[in-house]
Amino acid sequence: MLISVFNAVLIVLVTWLAYRYFELRERTSPTEERYSQFVSGVASIVDRIEGYDAAHSLEVAQTAEKLALAAGLEGEQLQALKAAAMLHDVGETLLPREILRTAERLNDEQTYLMRTHPLLGELHLKSRMQTPDEVPAIIRWHHERWDGLGYPDNLKGEEIPKAARILAIADAISAMRHLRSYRPKQYKSQKDIDAEIERQAGLQFDPELAALWLKLSPAAGNN
């Protein structure tokens, strides 16, 4: 069975929390802090389902915000990015748990399934929203690559909205900080991670944002 009872319960819970978040956003004008608390609650459940050993979504959101502010994002754009960063892996809750929890390298079929998570995340959120919103779109495109060889839509360069390009870098930085089943290499320090970001500028990542990150990085001595 693709979705276990446990997963189904979690999906309902995540959906309800996400729904509450967007409902609040539309109907009232609560403070940003209140949004963040809701989204953060959803994100922590997602992290737990995925079996991450640290608060991955929060880490991604913090890195994304730092980069976004430096890149000039503000207002609604910034808020949408923060929400998307928190919820970017929500689609993974719809995948079989054994794929998320495996310590082994994924086979072709599992990789294919794993690569559906941005689409599932987008569809899942969009189905609960009555007005157009960019958060699902940012989630859909957080695995796109600057060179057009990412997924799911193989968007290229500036076709990828800036918020999604920022999220892609933030997600990669967080992923490199922790062990992942799909990547045998472990990055030992922030300097190693930054070297990879620099190497992938113009390939995986927007070169302008990659250059910006290299100035902001803790390894650059700014923090």
């Binding site: 207002g75 754009q77 157009p132 960019e134 620099e198």
Partner: protein
């Protein structure tokens, strides 16, 4: 700029009827069709631009695997001594687009490919240069240093190509026929990614440079004219009186037709007025019904993606 969202396209037409094949009389970028090319549907792709059709053959329809290790060893040589610039057909691109070292490699790679006997292998090698040009052109505008040497980036892109084509078994037919001469067979769905006449993006610049390189000259104006000529009567212009007869002819034998485009800096209402209504009028003799779908991408700059589906 166009964000083709293939799964969205299938969802939209799936609400009306299932499809087992899709016909693209023209496509905007080969890699955007990757997702569809891995589905259990037959893709009929045509590009009136020869350089773009070649890229699609090399990246999408390649079932025989990637570039061989033997060929990589043989043709990805390091140029130790700079080549004579005067001999280089791309010399006028020096500094404006590429460094001397990059020009050396562009000359060498193009010529070296002719030594590859197998046409499919040769096209993979040329098609890899497209990715390298993209890497060089996008990085030249930023102060960041380029870490990878030309032979390293070639090896990297060849490896990317191998991953990209791995397990590819989809049924794909690719042609390079002028739109006026394209036969219109019976098909459940014809898809038109819309291209705009006045739009200059990083991708259109890259396609122009690659087209010139592929044809062995450095005249970008000529390349631009060639491409525009191939796309005449397909490009959408807000300046001219709309003539969508090419679209209507190409959709003549399709059960459904879908148009997709991405808007930017203009409100959705304007696209409805300038594209949707004229297209509805043009297609009215062929289809009874239509439905417009749109998605928000970034509301702060009025960026939405659109699908217009004709059926019935």
């Amino acid at each position: 700029m166009l964000r083709l969202q293939s799964s969205w396209l299938l969802e939209a037409v799936g609400e009306i009827g299932g499809v087992d094949s899709i016909f693209f009389p023209c496509f905007h970028r080969f890699s955007a069709l990757s997702w569809l090319s891995r589905k259990e549907i037959t893709l009929y792709l045509n590009s009136p631009i020869d350089s773009q059709a070649m890229l699609a053959r090399a990246w999408l329809s390649n079932r025989d695997g990637g570039f061989s290790e033997k060929n990589l060893q043989k043709f990805n040589q390091v140029i130790k001594k700079p080549l004579e610039l005067e001999m280089n057909p791309f010399k006028i691109w020096k500094e404006r687009l590429f460094t001397s070292q990059q020009l050396d490699y562009l000359f060498y790679w193009r010529e070296a490919a002719y030594e590859i006997d197998d046409e499919k292998q040769r096209e993979i090698f040329w098609a890899t240069v497209y990715q390298i040009l993209s890497y060089w052109l996008t990085n030249k505008d930023f102060a960041g240093r380029q870490i990878l040497e030309p032979d390293q980036i070639m090896a990297f892109c060849i490896e990317q190509h191998r991953s990209f084509v791995k397990g590819r078994t989809g049924r794909i037919e690719i042609s390079n026929i002028a739109l006026d001469e394209l036969a219109v067979d019976r098909n459940p769905l014809v898809a038109f990614p819309l291209l705009f006449d006045d739009e200059e993006t990083q991708e259109t610049e890259l396609q122009t440079v690659f087209h010139a390189w592929f044809h062995g000259h450095a005249d970008l104006e000529q390349a631009r004219r060639d491409i525009k000529n191939c796309l005449r009567r397909y490009l959408i212009s807000f300046e001219k009186t709309p003539d969508y007869s090419t679209f209507v002819r190409l959709a003549a034998n399709a059960d459904m037709a879908v148009l997709c485009w991405s808007g930017r800096d203009l409100p959705p209402k304007l696209y409805e007025q300038e594209i949707v209504e004229p297209m509805r009028s043009a297609f009215s003799s062929r289809y009874n019904r239509s439905r417009l779908f749109f998605k928000a991408v970034d509301r702060s700059i009025d960026a939405y993606d659109y699908l217009l589906v004709f059926h019935g």
